[in-house]
Subunit: 337 residues, 2 copies
DNA sequence: TTTCCAATTGGAAACGTTTTATATGGCGTG
DNA sequence: CACGCCATATAAAACGTTTCCAATTGGAAA
């Protein structure tokens, strides 16, 4: 009855075979005569045998478990990514051990070591910035590591991303195309490469290509949250020459931006136009609905996990640095052309 | 250098002691002479030894890993819960294996068995409804299971919840207190006990206590999402006798409700008043800001995990069925009194 | 000194699998 | 009818810990 503590040995005895044979049946090894297989299967059912994955892991050195490190699972953004990872993991019979790092270096390193101690078969890592010490640890990891929505900063690590620079360029260009001579940019900390070297660079390139001047105070840094977006825009609105077009680094900040504008008595998109980034579910939960850069978090997670399975199975991997396509989803926070 | 594949035996040889002693040092067993401890510790550092948790799990029958089953981690609601669980788990040196069930019975059962196969020390389960088969499996589980934000439906399982009936009562009563003779109720499927037997019951009791009639068509069922809230309210608005006060079963639905009202040209809270449920971060990301019932998901997760650790350590547990306090957070979707 | 007890250490079994090398059986072939 | 081979099955050795029990050590008391 209680399926607990019945071992492969019990099954072997019950079925009148050796444990090796039971092992083969359980693992779908073809070298078993059908009648034997049935006999064993019956014994398994009768006893309610459930293989002990820990023992299996010890003997085979494979745990069919992968570690997932994200900054904060309660952030819709990472949660979406995690779901993509988990779905593909399930598809390939893996389970995931999830850990939150708060993008903190020490936690990241500690988590990594815990996961390696647990003998995960691989790791998917997401973080704002790759600290050197972390990369050192990565390098000596006995299992493969894949970065998701995290730039590999020149290190030779498999990674799945979109082209953030181009995406920011496209968003800025779209705003400029609506006649704006000035575009505000509200994003996260610039020391995170994704903001500093990519989005920011794309923003500047777009200005430059349009022959527009770059103005230091058109850029405000927040911390990705709604509140920081709201605050940043409020600050921006105090200026006499406040830009009437805003590109926000995340949707959540974009919501804050829109509300700050509306709270000040202006209209989006009539007085101000706003473009967000990520296309989280939030984008449609606001009026006007948000035009935003689509960063397919679910897909990034799914592709990252698929990439990891390929590496684990020693399948051929054509390109370790995957760049997924992006696009801009047009909604009502932008005027019609 | 490579901390991989160096075993306790290597450390023992390096330190000139037996593996039993190394094991004691690693596990902080006090019965080791300080000088010996140091010798061993040095050897560990020199070799970069990292204990193999799988072997440890096999020998000790403890994996310091707990399983977490949620319907969908990409839902902000469950993500918050998961974060609470993970934080407390980390505090007690546990890791979590996370699985998504989509509230699907077969997936739930499959997931449960996978987790048990992996020898988790305990499980935290969240789901809309406890199917009989699932409960059967729960009963024969060799490890403790704690329900989080999930009613135990009369089964004797440890659980952490709030008083949903009273919360719904309070919300409805508050709306009635604002002079409404009619209150709309938009929630999830009634077959989920939390909606059908709790929130719905609280709603009806509040009407009854106020001497107001219950009207079938004041209740509309959705599926928790923004879109379903929007749609439900649009339907409601078609009626001539549409209620001017709405209690929505989740914040996300409440946002949909508010937007439906605004899209129809009405004002919240002047024409309609709305109360949500959960107090997710969404509640402040809308104008007007949402008045909502606070269901502390993070806390529920944290308390559930803490409860599980108590059970695992055989600590005394005074009450296995924990009911956390709730309250209503007043914001602008309600008129001032 | 001896004796004895407590503190410390070591040896080896156990945990439940996988896996390798080896044995067995049946059957077609010459 | 004997031989060799392929398909199956078995036995036993890993895998890297923990833990029980026994052995040793050290020092205080006698």
């Amino acid at each position: 009855m209680n399926s607990n503590n019945v071992t492969i040995y019990d099954v072997a005895r019950e079925a009148g075979v050796s444990m090796a044979t039971v092992s083969r049946v359980v693992n779908g090894n073809p070298n078993v005569k059908p009648t034997t297989r049935k006999k064993v299967q019956d014994a398994i059912d009768r006893l309610g045998y459930r293989p002990n994955a820990v023992a299996r892991g010890l003997a085979s050195k494979k745990t069919t478990t992968v570690g997932v490190i994200v900054p904060d699972i309660s952030n819709i953004f990472f949660a979406d990514l995690a779901r993509g990872i988990e779905d593909v993991a399930t598809m390939y019979k893996y389970n995931i051990i999830l850990g939150n790092s708060d993008a903190n270096r020490d936690k990241e390193i500690h988590l990594l070591n815990t996961l390696l101690g647990k003998q995960v078969d691989g790791i998917i890592f997401m973080g704002g910035r790759l600290h050197e010490d972390l990369v050192e640890e990565f390098k000596r990891s006995p299992v493969p590591i894949v970065l998701a929505a995290t730039l590999n900063q020149g290190y030779d690590l498999p990674a799945v991303n979109i082209d953030y620079e181009q995406a920011a360029y496209d968003a800025t260009e779209m705003l400029i195309g609506h006649g704006h001579k000035q575009v505000g940019f509200i994003t996260g900390p610039l020391e995170q490469q994704i903001n500093g070297e990519k989005k920011f660079a794309g923003y500047r390139r777009a200005l430059e290509d349009a022959g527009l001047p770059f103005q230091e105070n058109d850029v405000i840094l927040g911390n990705y949250t709604y509140a920081s977006g709201l605050e940043a825009m409020q600050k921006m609105l105090e200026r006499d020459d406040c830009p009437k077009a805003i590109f926000a680094g995340t949707d959540e900040m974009a919501l804050g931006v829109i509300h700050a504008i509306q709270d000040a008595g202006f209209s989006v998109p009539n007085d101000f136009e706003v473009v967000g980034h990520d296309n989280t579910r939030l984008a449609t939960m606001i009026r006007p609905k948000l035009t935003t850069v689509v960063q397919p978090m679910y897909d990034i997670g799914a592709v990252a996990m698929r990439l990891l399975t390929k590496i684990l199975n020693a399948e051929e991997v054509e390109e370790k640095n995957v760049v997924l396509p992006h696009r801009i989803e047009r909604r009502d926070s932008l005027r019609n052309d």
